[in-house]
Symmetry: D2
């Protein structure tokens, strides 16, 4: 059934390109833009997908925000993880409704929102952050997106433990991920997946070593590049500028192996990633 | 609680690198590899994350397959969508538990598995395919991964309609996506998202035009590149070879606009993607 | 022998990063920068590689400009070809001292400078341009870089002929390159190389067809991406932003083949580029 | 004047795609291919750009080899530098006819050929190599391409000095480039350019530090990616596979600065590369 927009609903007002506003609709509030204002009372009762006109006669589309819109429009105190990286994290960890996730480095909560949106309603994200001011921002972002019920935020150092066991996925988004590898190991169930998000090669090297030492296999490190295309009939081309780098993503899976077992096996080739990656 | 492996469970036997086998465990079956065989009876009763030895003394890790493992190991008759592309589709459509998805071009069912894994248990994927032989393959792949319950497969031409309304997301993975844009529009709810997957620029151009003509806005076309890194302390570098191209992904959102409304608004700039894309 | 800087010499005053000034030194002229001014009399008599101080005590290095500096600092009326693309053009056409080059689309003369710098002193670049205002800019840029002696600039439409025969290389940098393919064929010697520079896929397609039709083989189309690295001990990473696209480069070699010969041979596979390209 | 092929000339026999043979023509020799053989006597007297038929009636084009052909077809004992990287080296060092180049790490001589082809006839490349067997290969490759006259090959460790002063460009292609930075500094003229070619990040970091310490400024590190396009009317797309990484290229310019001068200036920001790079 088509959804009708009511008081208090979130709407993405879309004019064109990146001219878009994520707002909570209130009957007696105007939304102001450079292309005029829109009365809340004109929005309420419309369906998502319909248009309204601003007082200047400009056409705004009423779109239902997706989790990507909440991510891109979130209040931020920190560099947030990009949708391109979020997507690969979902694809490679096998995240699904019901998954239990531990996260270190809540930051502004952008990735937390994305994770919660996939694991809900029966799964849960336990997210830890060292700085209280970030937690406050993350809480506001999660509340706004309606995902706070699926997240437990806590202040603290995840290297002391996540306070969770049998997690399906551990997500590490801090500056010194290698310090948290042991905690993540303890929080994960057997064969659970870990992903670490780091901008520099040197962080990747240290984390990689910590993973192999602690009891992880199938270690793989990738980076994701997204190119946008300018599509125009007869003149299609890639866009002139692009994001050249955000972060390396390092994935691995927990095993129950003491050093001896790992050495006996094929440790020498653990972590050898195949040369091609799609 | 740690999961104990039982008769009939799926296990990813992991030796190293891309030497890995996805098997259904049976007590009286041996798994044969180039590094020896493993007795099913040795696997049953172990936890995921533990190791078993082959008759040649090689160490195999018992991993719980993720949806990515099912995708990479699926039986295939067609080019399958890559995890890198699946991830961005999930991130940009806002796919979540409970989403209703229509898909045209089931192919081998790899993307179908991925979609079903996220929308389950309350959501559903309605997937259409023109060729019966592909549907048979897809059905086997979905059954093996335990996701068939969340998918309705049907033989037919989606340009005649999906037989579904109020879908959240439409996924088009066929050679002539522009032919299906109208059907997708009818199947989607207002503001619902569409994504089309095409290897060539020319397919993108035609689809792009069909989207704008039919009643979609926020049209955006990107491609995803993944580079894998060879991590080694003191000698880290990107891998020598990589996948250079799989497909362009074109995203848009359904609006209720006849041509007149679209023209009155800011149609001239609809689909202008911002120059940078993360 | 170390070169001593004299009146009238060009110097690249290098402060740091992209803070650099390309100037002609005059004994009685000051060079003004945001970090103070430098007296011309302080520069004259110094060697390239030495430093001078501005009146504010800041250190400026006296560097000898390379052709890349002239390209990056040239006066421009048009989008200029990037060093990354210039480099591949040199590498793939086998440009060398003594080469005869015809160029269509002088633009601001940036690429012309680069070509002239390699073919000099015995080679020559014959460059045609439709717009007189561009030719004036190009002439000034070539004069400043000391390369004008190796270039003949002319106003006109290269589709009417370059007025040159037996050229080694033809460079086409115009919006409708397919129109010039025949002229280029006539200007080139047998087995001579052509390169066409175009931002859009559609230009590439049309040019590609014109090349095959006119008598070119070994047609190959590539694009070059350059990523810059931020190097810092223990924190090395690719830069956040990069140029996502400038142009596609299409290369081919002239043959003496009428359509019949071409058809008899392996025409069907002409232009099949191998799947990997370094 | 069109060149007529004579006894002893080099010809690239081009069938299609990467089916091509680089041969020295002899009147009484046959060239054997999977598509039949071609008589030397049929080639002699023809012009470059003409075709000959094999005994099986297949059409082969007679192309004049460029330096790229010699590079791609050279005898190799080592990983050779790719045309994409060679091109950027030429573009960023300002290499020109008459340049004096010192090179460490001759390897198979592929890059040496490319450098010699640009600096000839009045310039020269002084190339050092530690392994005699590589020098022998390089000498054969240079001789075959007709470029040996412009190169001096020597056996030895360049860290002990190149035996050259006032070079315009230093090219370092060894596993431990940081060891050679001082020698290169001594060999270069003031403001001369150095480029170091290394596959790993860690080599780049060490070299970077050595450059800053020794007296180089404008340090810049990039990598070049080339994507090939499959052009076909109405179905153009990037190729499926590509080379994901060959080497990082680190460029810098020599200055006469003791540590004190460097510190007084803007050392803290030396080597800060701008965020975008074309």
């Amino acid at each position: 059934m088509e959804e009708v927009i009511s008081e208090g609903d979130d709407v993405l007002l879309y004019l064109s390109g990146d001219k878009r506003w994520l707002v909570k609709v209130k009957v007696d509030k105007k939304v102001h833009t450079h292309a005029g204002y829109i009365e809340g009372s004109n929005i309420i009762g419309k369906r998502y997908g319909e248009a309204v006109k601003s007082n200047l006669g400009r056409n705004f589309w009423l779109l239902k925000p997706t989790v990507e819109d909440y991510v891109l429009k979130c209040e931020r105190k920190t560099q947030v993880v990009y949708p391109k990286d979020m997507g690969l994290i979902a694809a490679k960890t096998g995240l699904t409704s019901g998954s239990i996730v531990v996260e270190a480095g809540t930051g502004s909560g952008a990735l937390t929102m994305f994770l919660a949106n996939i694991v809900k309603p029966t799964g849960h994200v336990y997210s830890m952050e060292l700085k209280e001011e970030f937690l406050d921002v993350a809480r506001r972002n999660l509340k706004r997106s309606g995902l706070l019920d699926y997240v437990t935020l806590s202040l603290g150092d995840a290297s002391q433990g996540f306070g969770v066991i049998d997690a399906d996925v551990a997500v590490i988004d801090v500056g010194d991920p290698w310090r948290l590898v042991e905690s993540a190991w303890r929080a994960l169930k057997g064969a659970g997946k870990i992903v670490s998000i780091s901008p520099t090669m040197n962080q990747v090297e240290k984390t990689y070593e910590a993973l192999l030492r602690t009891g992880f296999v199938d270690v793989e490190c990738v980076e994701v590049l997204v190119r946008s295309m300018q599509v125009k009939s007869g003149a299609t081309r890639p866009s002139t500028r692009m994001i050249g780098h955000t972060a390396y993503l390092t994935f691995a899976r927990k095993v129950f192996g003491d050093e001896k077992t790992l050495k006996e096996g094929d440790t020498e080739s653990i972590g050898v990633v195949s040369d091609e990656e799609g």
